[in-house]
């Protein structure tokens, strides 16, 4: 069985800034792969390359056997690759149900309205938004908006879900709730690639972790391996040489 998503030598430069530089890794079917790295490491840029917001300067992005690098986002959504964004922007004047139906209509299966309705209801149930079904998106709390963002992506019945900081800004109870939702999505066989700054959460949710730093892949492995990797620790805690120099100087 081949990997669901394979990145091979993917590169995106913005002028002199090497936002993503020769990154290769694979997302296996059914797994949760966590993507971590300090600010500016290139995580969101990588998501933008995977779902077609940007075209890579080099490299291949193979999804379910097809090279999708450079395809338009709406085409990539049709392949079964959905994304929940960090900054949620629901269709404010539409209800939760309608938002999810839009997700279903433009998702993998190109559903007619009646079937989109079904898919939307299913996604709403998974995200625990049943009681808000008829609420206008603009009237939701931030936590509910984040769940709607996930439900909208899920309504397209994707094979692969990209989650960009879906836990950010939630209180501890809401975080627990969202972790439960992610677990339920994974139990349905959806593969997940997620970016998250809440380290405890991502380390416990993920089967494997890829660490980016300055646009390059710094490490890849089990959560317990990467969290003890000296290169990773230095990327997060900073270079120890400076402090040593400072103490010598004083």
């Amino acid at each position: 069985m081949t990997a669901l998503l394979e990145l091979d030598g993917v590169r995106k430069w913005f002028g002199g800034l090497h936002a993503v530089d020769d990154v290769s890794f694979a997302v296996e079917r059914g797994e949760i792969l966590g993507l971590i790295g300090p600010n500016g490491a290139g995580k969101t840029t990588l998501f933008n390359l995977i779902n077609g917001v940007y075209t890579p300067d080099a490299g291949r992005i193979v999804f379910d056997g097809t090279d999708i690098a450079g395809e338009k986002p709406y085409r990539i959504a049709r392949h079964g690759l959905a994304r929940a964004h960090q900054i949620v922007q629901p269709l404010a004047n539409m209800t939760v149900l309608e938002n999810c139906m839009v997700g279903a209509c433009f998702g993998r299966e190109n559903l007619p309205l009646a079937r989109a309705h079904e898919a939307a209801l299913e996604a709403i149930a998974i995200a625990g938004l049943e009681d808000r079904r008829a609420t206008l998106a603009m009237h939701l709390t931030i936590a509910a908006k984040k769940r709607l963002e996930l439900a909208r992506a899920l309504a397209g019945r994707p094979w692969l879900l990209l989650l960009d900081e879906v836990l950010a800004g939630l209180n501890p109870t809401e975080v627990e709730h969202m972790i439960g939702i992610i677990g339920r999505i994974r139990a349905r066989g959806v593969t997940i690639l997620m970016i998250e700054h809440l380290m405890q959460a991502i380390m416990s949710l993920s089967d494997r972790i890829v660490v980016l730093d300055f646009g390059e892949k710094l490490a890849e492995g089990l959560p317990s391996e990467v969290s003890r990797d000296p290169l990773v620790i230095e990327a997060y805690l900073g270079d120890p040489k400076l402090a040593a120099e400072l103490q010598r100087g004083s």
């Binding site: 800004g169 959560p223 805690l237 120890p240 400076l242 402090a243 004083s250």
Partner: protein, 238 residues
């Protein structure tokens, strides 16, 4: 620990609907250098903003010299002796070095002994004395950071609150700046510092707080913290 010049109790703050700080308490001891470290998104900058008053705290209390200053506007805080050196320096980049320093001494408190303060700023940063008429935006990154610190000093602060001064600077400059902070502290200034590089923060501080996910994950004397696995856990989750 000596008397706390600044006390923060159960501070909560955020932006719009998004809460970033979930009840953070910390003290900055008089004449000490207190460091706040933590991964991206831990709430370090938000903490400094809520203390300095550039954003309004949602809940909690900030006490300075024994008085509640939680809701005071920034200009009043500045007049009481708060100075914030923001991340990214935020200089008046079309103005000269001199003009930036003059604006640093905008409050009545600072205007009192202006020339004396200016001399002091130049003695701390002789490089700036050589560049008084230069437009701030044309200074090197290190010089700009010096100017941002000097501008903070011009306000005659009781406490200097510094956000990420090492970002993007060459190591030798970073060392120089941190040596300067030590000197300032030894002269009696209270400093509250946010720093990305944990090792640096622990090397210069008298006490340190580790933030994670908008809370104090752990705190203590630098030497004690450096020996514990908590910091790695705060940054890497396990």
């Amino acid at each position: 620990m000596p008397d706390a010049l600044l006390q923060v109790e159960a501070l909560e703050a955020g932006y719009g609907e998004v809460q970033v700080l979930w009840g953070v308490s910390l003290n900055a001891g008089s004449g000490q250098l207190t460091a706040i470290v933590g991964a991206n998104g831990a709430g370090k900058t938000t903490m400094l903003r809520a203390i300095a008053g550039t954003i309004a705290p949602w809940r909690g209390r900030v006490t300075f010299q024994g008085k509640d200053v939680t809701r005071l506007p920034t200009n009043v805080k500045s007049a009481r002796g708060f100075a914030l050196v923001p991340e990214g320096r935020q200089l008046f980049s079309a103005m000269t070095v001199d003009e930036n320093l003059e604006l640093g001494a905008f409050s009545k408190r600072a205007a009192r002994n202006y020339s004396q303060r200016l001399d002091q700023a130049f003695s701390v940063f002789p490089r700036l004395a050589e560049r008084r008429r230069q437009i701030a935006g044309t200074l090197s990154g290190g010089e700009q950071q010096m100017l941002a610190l000097a501008r903070g000093l011009m306000s005659d602060p009781e406490i200097l609150i510094i956000d990420e001064m090492s970002l993007g600077l060459a190591p030798v400059l970073v060392c120089q700046l941190f040596m300067t902070l030590k000197t300032l502290k030894e002269a009696g200034l209270t400093i509250l510092l946010v720093e990305q590089n944990v090792h640096l923060a622990l090397a210069v501080s008298d006490y340190a707080y580790v933030l994670a996910e908008g809370r104090v994950f752990t705190e203590g004397l630098p030497a004690v913290l450096a020996a514990k696995p908590e910091i790695r856990r705060a940054y890497l989750g396990m």
